[in-house]
């Protein structure tokens, strides 16, 4: 180990100082002289038509520049494909201010632009809107019948049946079947969606956008408004949380760019917290799971069906049921996934989309089955351990889930669990323990990066990826510094700018695997040039050495393990007569290698709850989350990722639901006082274990990504612990205290 080895060592966030001092700037914080403010008018109805808009009072106010509605707004593009983005689904994307039709509650129906925020907001309150309202349908349960999800690139169609699940279920010694339900949830990142569009003197746009992909926003803007890439630069150095909400361009971007182009002014549009409930959300689902097993616990049949909501204009799909066929060994599996169109906005990927909700049903059902069988729920999972992905008949590239179960159980003290529900109490508190399994994909996407090493030993690496809080800045800086053997403080990683090399959306837990690989390759390309120069030096101890023979440590390139052979990289550049070395590379996944394997991360979650017997109050006292996620690049930020995922899981289990008034078709708790997310007092001890997992198939770094696996399974484990504590099974999430009384 040397002083310039960082990967796997706890490192404080390199952007930490900027974030604790307020220097880190988010989309709504780039100020410019002459900036104007757009305030979005939202529809008061969920379905129908706008009959009349009277903006005359508002327009007469001092400081109001324009009020855009469907009556006067431009329609820069017509075809759906112009509005498609990297995370689009089948159907026709929403086009703001295109016509009088209202498709969902709080649909943007206008934009007031004024020279101050306060005037714009006040003017918006003066606009009179007359509607012709129709009765919306927003109730998934009203008619629990859907249609098959569309096939194709953007549809997640469940795989074909395995064996004969119906027959095996009928013949099984022990059968269990139940229905599970949860309401929609909203991402609610702390930063509200915002775009600051700066109109530069040459007419080009500099767009500060809240997005998980600067390139995605740029492509959208250029296609819709017919601009060139040079005319629309998108920048997002800091993003105040995403969780999937920034995977598609949101309507404030469209409105801000439209207004800037029309008025030839710089425009900022920030949504209100209420309006944060007016676009994508985690879809509510109604699921049934049927499990058949032999008396010894071996699963003989798994049936899992889900009905999910989507909008009337797009077919949003996610992988809800497929996990049930991959988590455990079982010869007979039947899956079904159906959609129903409702008068709501299209759902949108939200942290571990599909898995976070589908696995709740699977893992709760398995827990219920364990009581029927009288087998410890952890033991039941081990009995049915899947050694391969049985849908594809492929081995896993690595799967240390067994170690997750063992290490997690050991840390938690699972062996001391009393099998009977309601068997542990402390005064009026009932104590219960629950376990669940989690699973997510380990993916890699195409990504590019550029590395520039200057003669003063400073390395600047750039890639147009994002850091939504995941620790991208830190992990990339560590990878770059270690690859070229430089001190961390001499390395700067740049992201969030469409002038940088192209990177994929930040989502799917693939940033470290994709961008990290590109960063490593770009730095290696610089390293190869350095070695060439070092070899040319007089009496070079490296002459004859190949790139595989050398390592970069502490500002030197040397033969592996031979400190005496070290040549200063600055000296090599000086003698090579260059002031800098710059290399750009594009890293592609090794498809041939990867396609032979199923590539997934896994987790085992252990939860202890206490439930007040009289009041129903639930407290999650203890969580142990054991993760098999490949190699951990940045342990400190990785731990935070998992902690955050666990907090989300607790929040999902106990608090989060977007409550619909089906008469109005409106999310009624559209604010942070009534849409409950876990607060500090809700969170107690959480322990994270990273189980060792070596994997050279997923990508050259061996990292599987950790942004999503942390949430999967947690809500089920909480529910299972509540059952163990109280003897009451709640299949309707979130498990609020009224459901326990």
């Amino acid at each position: 180990m040397t002083a310039t080895t960082y990967v796997g060592k706890p490192t404080s966030r390199v952007d930490g100082r900027a974030k604790v001092t307020g220097e880190a700037k988010y989309a709504a914080e780039f100020n410019t002289p002459g900036l104007t403010y757009g305030y979005v008018l939202s529809s008061a109805i969920a379905k129908g038509k706008i009959k009349k808009i009277d903006a005359s009072d508002a327009l007469s106010l001092d400081g109001v520049l324009q009020i855009f509605t469907h009556e006067n707004a431009p329609r820069p593009a017509y075809f759906d494909r112009k509005f498609k983005d990297d995370d689009s689904v089948a159907g026709s994307p929403f086009k703001p201010l295109y016509d009088a039709e209202i498709k969902f509650s709080q649909q943007p129906i206008g934009l007031v632009v004024a020279d101050s925020f306060e005037v714009a907001r006040y003017a918006a309150s003066l606009v009179k809107v007359e509607y012709e309202a129709e009765q919306p349908d927003t109730n998934l349960r009203r008619k629990p019948k859907g249609h098959k999800a569309p096939k194709g690139k953007t549809g997640f169609v469940p795989p074909k049946d395995r064996g004969n699940a119906d027959k095996a279920f009928k013949n099984a010694e022990v059968q269990f079947e139940a229905e599970y339900f949860h309401m929609p949830e909203h991402h609610n990142p702390m930063e509200m969606f915002a775009s600051t569009v700066i109109m530069e003197e040459d007419g080009k746009l500099k767009i500060y956008d809240k997005t998980q992909g600067a390139f995605n926003s740029q492509t959208y803007v250029t296609k819709v408004f017919g601009l060139s890439k040079e005319e629309a630069r998108v920048i997002n150095p800091y993003i105040g949380g995403g969780f999937g909400s920034g995977l598609r361009p949101q309507y404030q971007l469209y409105l801000a760019v439209m207004a800037a182009l029309e008025l030839k002014r710089s425009v900022r549009v920030v949504l209100t917290r209420q309006q944060m409930f007016s676009f994508g959300h985690r879809p509510g689902t109604l699921q049934t799971v049927a499990l058949g097993a032999a008396q010894d616990g071996t699963l003989q049949s798994i049936k899992h069906e889900a009905l999910a909501e989507t909008s009337r204009f797009e077919e949003y799909t996610e992988t809800v049921v497929n996990w049930s066929g991959m988590l455990y060994h079982c010869d007979n599996v039947k899956l079904g996934y159906y959609l129903r169109n409702l008068d709501l906005y299209t759902p949108l990927d939200m942290r571990a989309p599909g898995a976070a909700t589908g696995i709740i049903a699977t893992e709760t059902a398995l827990d219920e089955l364990s009581y029927k069988l009288n087998i410890d729920p952890l033991e039941l999972r081990l009995i049915n351990y899947a050694e391969e992905n049985e849908f594809e008949g492929k081995p896993f590239s690595s799967k240390a889930l067994r170690e997750c179960y063992h290490q997690g159980a050991e840390k938690f003290g699972w062996a001391r669990r009393k099998p009977q529900p309601r068997s542990t109490r402390e005064g009026t508190k009932l104590i219960g323990w629950g376990v669940a399994t989690g699973m997510w994909d380990a993916q890699q996407q195409k990504a590019a990066a550029k590395a520039n090493l200057s003669i003063d030993g400073k390395l600047v690496v750039g890639s147009g990826t994002a850091d939504i809080g995941t620790g991208t800045y830190t992990a990339m800086t560590m990878i770059a510094a270690e690859t070229l053997g430089l001190p961390l403080e001499d390395v700067t990683f740049k992201l969030g700018d469409t002038t940088l090399p192209q990177a994929p959306l930040q989502g799917g837990s693939w940033t470290v695997s994709s961008v990290g690989t590109a960063v490593q390759e770009a730095c290696e390309a610089v390293g190869k040039k350095l070695l060439k120069m070092a070899k040319k030096m007089k009496n070079s101890p490296l002459s004859g050495a190949s790139f595989e023979d050398v390592e970069f440590v502490e500002g030197k390139v040397q033969l592996k393990g031979d400190y005496a052979s070290g040549v200063s990289i600055i000296e090599a550049m000086r003698q090579g007569e260059v002031n800098f070395i710059e290399e750009e590379t594009t890293a592609l996944p090794n498809f041939l290698k990867q396609m032979k394997y199923a590539r997934n991360s896994h987790s085992a979650v252990f939860v202890e709850v206490e439930v007040d017997e009289d009041l129903g109050q639930i407290c999650v006292r203890r969580v142990v989350s054991a993760i098999a996620g490949g190699r951990v690049i940045s342990p400190k930020t990785a731990r935070s990722q998992i902690l955050g995922g666990v907090v989300w899981g607790i929040s999902m289990a106990l608090h989060e639901e977007s409550v619909l008034d089906h008469n109005l078709g409106r999310f009624m708790n559209h604010n942070l006082a009534e849409y409950h997310v876990a607060v500090n007092a809700d969170i107690h001890d959480i322990e994270v274990i990273f189980v060792e997992e070596h994997d050279d198939i997923v990508n050259p770094l061996g990292a599987k990504g950790l942004g999503e696996i942390g949430i999967v399974g947690v809500a089920a484990a909480v529910g299972n612990a509540i059952y163990h504590a109280t003897g009451k099974r709640v299949r309707d999430f979130p498990i609020t205290l009224d459901k326990l009384l």
Binding site: E29, K51, S116, L126, M190, M192, H684
Partner: protein, 176 residues
């Protein structure tokens, strides 16, 4: 079935806009004479007029705590406060906590314990923690959890926040 819905504006239409008012605020140690509209919140004054964007807007309704600043040493939600109400007061924002390059112990502790991810709630959390330390009520870990619950962290960095506040309490109140 269809029906007509007419949404009327709330209240009478005010013609013209409210006149500006003169206030004196000491912000991060510097006295400022300002002319502000009475409807401008302290939060918007900081962010939109003084370019002090460290203080964040997370809900504009006093529900999330992202806009927490210190007014005469006490933590408040700056979104629920009109700037004109604070004439003569001393305001400290996240930008005013460090002394030159020297970070405030709470800021140091937040970095050390990775008490944030996206960083958006962080200035509010930090100002809230400084306010909590000034109050002197937090004696236990559960006290900290309770007294920091007005500041939502959607990334779920609560374990780090609690550890950071515990450490800062020891530094700032060594006798307790």
């Amino acid at each position: 079935m269809s029906s007509k819905v007419l949404t009327e504006p709330i209240g009478d239409v005010a013609v013209g806009l409210p006149p500006l008012q003169r206030v004196t605020l000491t912000i991060n140690g510097a006295e400022k004479q300002l002319e502000v509209a009475p409807w401008t919140s302290l939060l918007d004054l900081l962010r939109e007029y003084l370019d002090l964007t460290g203080t964040k807007k997370g809900c504009d309704h006093g529900q999330c705590g992202a806009c927490t600043v210190l007014v005469d040493g006490k933590r408040i939600n700056s979104c629920l406060t009109l700037a004109v109400m604070k004439d003569g007061c001393e305001i400290t924002t996240v930008e005013g906590l460090s002394k030159g390059d020297q970070l405030h112990p709470v800021q140091e502790a937040f970095i050390e314990h990775d008490a944030f991810q996206c960083g958006y709630c962080t200035p509010g959390q930090i100002c809230s923690a400084v306010g909590l330390i000034n109050e002197g009520h937090a004696k236990t870990t559960d006290d900290i959890r309770e007294l920091m619950s007005g500041n939502i962290c959607r990334c779920g960095a609560y374990p780090g926040i609690v550890a950071a506040v515990e450490q800062a309490l020891k530094v700032c109140q060594p006798n307790q």
